[in-house]
């Protein structure tokens, strides 16, 4: 399990516990984190589950595959530190991760 902190679009910070094996997106949606739309439910088909990852965490996350990479390239608010949260499985190693949610997924 990992405690992950989300900064929602209006600046609100919320910490939630997500079980190992679930994706970050699943944890966020179930806990009603604002701004994670996740329209395809984790199929890496919609790119509406994007989050910004702090510099120091980027290298500690499992790597992107080519689909995630190309989906991200075309996201309207993409930054170098963007990830699709449905593509990151939670493990104990992610405890303490802080993520910022974009203003909009569109």
């Amino acid at each position: 399990m990992a405690k992950i902190v989300f900064e929602e679009p209006d600046g609100t910070e919320r910490a939630i516990d997500i079980a190992n094996g679930q994706s970050i997106m699943e944890g966020a949606v179930r806990n009603g984190i604002v701004g994670i739309d996740a329209d395809c439910g984790g199929a890496c088909s919609c790119a509406t589950c994007m989050v910004y990852v702090p510099e120091e965490w980027l290298g500690r996350l499992p790597a992107k595959d080519s689909t995630e990479q190309s989906m991200l390239e075309f996201c309207p608010h993409v930054q170098a530190n963007s990830r699709l949260s449905c593509q990151i499985q939670v493990s104990d190693a992610l405890d303490g991760l802080r993520l910022k949610v974009p203003q909009s997924q569109q």
């Binding site: 679930q22 699943e26 949606v29 179930r30 009603g32 604002v34 739309d37 329209d39 395809c40 439910g41 199929a43 890496c44 088909s45 919609c46 790119a47 689909t67 190309s70 989906m71 390239e73 075309f74 996201c75 569109q106």
Partner: protein, 396 residues
């Protein structure tokens, strides 16, 4: 206290509606009525990872029970709505109880089109998967009637489980309703390479025990599953005298012709600017988008901008993402080679304007096209077909 907002049908549209209502600041009571024994769940995995046994049941649920039962909300599962009484603003449930509403939302979805084939299975619900999956054992034989995306996804999962799979499609090509001929041909090749036997132009006449009888051939099967499209659940609306065409007729805000009744998701028919006519869409995106629009309308907020419709299907290692609506195209442009490998895209244009794309393992083509279709962009077909021009540079 004011009567609650009542939602009939506890699927993905209903779940998103409740989430969006909460976000839009809806203060009233909400009552969600669904006839399945489950919390709202995602159907796409039913013919993909959940069917394959790669996704646990609890991961299908969109939200935990607590989400639907917080202050002022009630969840009535396993309960069927039988009738709407518009003058009394109430809904009669099958168990005889009655719910009065201030606002009513119909989110009844669709159901499989049934064929007169006793003993055949269908794939729509968790219960259907529970019935089908134990029969997909190695060495067994499966006949899928209907080569649409659900039938083909099922075929892909089953053949990987070691089942002998035959797909019978009456049209001359696969997924004919949704994609162009180039894409149909590709899927016929893909399934062939993976060991699925496909017969197009095969009209099924009947099912005799475990034998599927076609006009010119017969196929023995341990299990027969029909995937012949869906019909919208519009009976409640029709009996209540609401306007129904191919689906429940709704305006741009998802309101029916009764101002206190909305309809969202698979059961609706709505005008789409992209094609200039009324259309019923069966997709997760449509269900979520209409839920967001209806929530905004109910809360008196500005609705979110309408997006380009899109859809996906996963078969074997191939993800196809489709955006736009290709009906009425006058030109199709292929990018990449559909005859070898598993990655290409087909763009559909009308009078030079990009209106749709089928992107096979081509995320950039899908993502960029979604933007270009929304912009009603005119794109040089030669550039679309030229792999030397990056998708990012496709805006003329």
């Amino acid at each position: 206290m004011a009567d609650p907002l009542v939602i009939i049908g506890a699927g993905q549209a209903a779940s998103q509606l409740m989430a969006s209502l909460a976000q839009d600041g809806f203060a009233g009571e909400v009552c969600l009525v669904g006839d399945e024994p489950h919390l709202p769940y995602q159907r796409p995995p039913l013919s993909k990872k959940f069917l394959a046994g790669e996704l646990a049941l609890d991961r299908l649920y969109v939200k935990p029970a607590a989400f639907y039962e917080k202050a002022g909300s009630h969840l009535l599962l396993g309960r069927r709505a039988e009738r709407i009484d518009r003058s009394g603003r109430s809904v009669l449930l099958a168990d005889g109880s009655r719910l009065t509403y201030s606002t009513l939302v119909l989110a009844t979805g669709s159901r499989p089109r049934e064929l007169p084939l006793p003993g055949a299975f269908y794939l729509r619900n968790i219960a259907d998967v529970d019935a089908i999956r134990p029969r997909l054992a190695p060495g067994k034989s499966l006949v899928v009637i209907g080569g649409g995306y659900i039938g083909l996804e099922l075929a892909a999962v089953a053949v990987k489980l070691g089942v002998g799979v035959t797909v019978l499609e009456q049209a001359p090509r696969l997924m004919a309703r949704g994609v162009g001929p180039v894409v149909s041909q590709f899927y016929a090749r893909l399934h062939g390479e993976e060991g699925v036997v496909i017969h197009t132009g095969s009209v099924v006449c009947g099912l005799a025990g475990k034998r599927v009888v076609c006009e010119h051939a017969q196929y023995d099967a341990d299990i027969v599953v029909v995937g012949a499209g869906a019909v919208p659940n519009v009976e409640l609306a029709r009996e209540a005298g609401l306007a129904v065409e191919d689906g429940i007729v709704v305006d741009a805000e998802c309101r029916t012709d009764d101002a206190s009744i909305y309809a969202i998701g698979d059961c609706t028919s709505q005008h789409h600017d992209l094609v200039g006519r009324r259309l019923r869409l069966e997709s997760v995106h449509n269900a979520l988008e209409q839920a967001r629009i209806a929530a905004a309308a109910i809360c008196g907020r500005k609705p979110p901008a309408v997006q380009v419709p899109w859809f996906w299907t996963d078969q074997f290692d191939v993800k196809m993402q489709m955006a736009g609506l290709s009906a009425g195209h006058d030109q199709a442009v292929v990018r990449g080679n559909p005859d070898t490998g598993r990655s290409f895209a087909v763009f559909y244009l009308r009078e030079g304007t990009l209106i749709a794309v089928d992107a096979v393992n081509r995320a950039p083509e899908f993502m960029m096209s979604k933007q270009l279709i929304a912009e009603r962009a005119k794109i040089d077909p030669a550039r679309l077909g030229d792999e030397g021009v990056a998708m990012k540079d496709m805006r003329n």
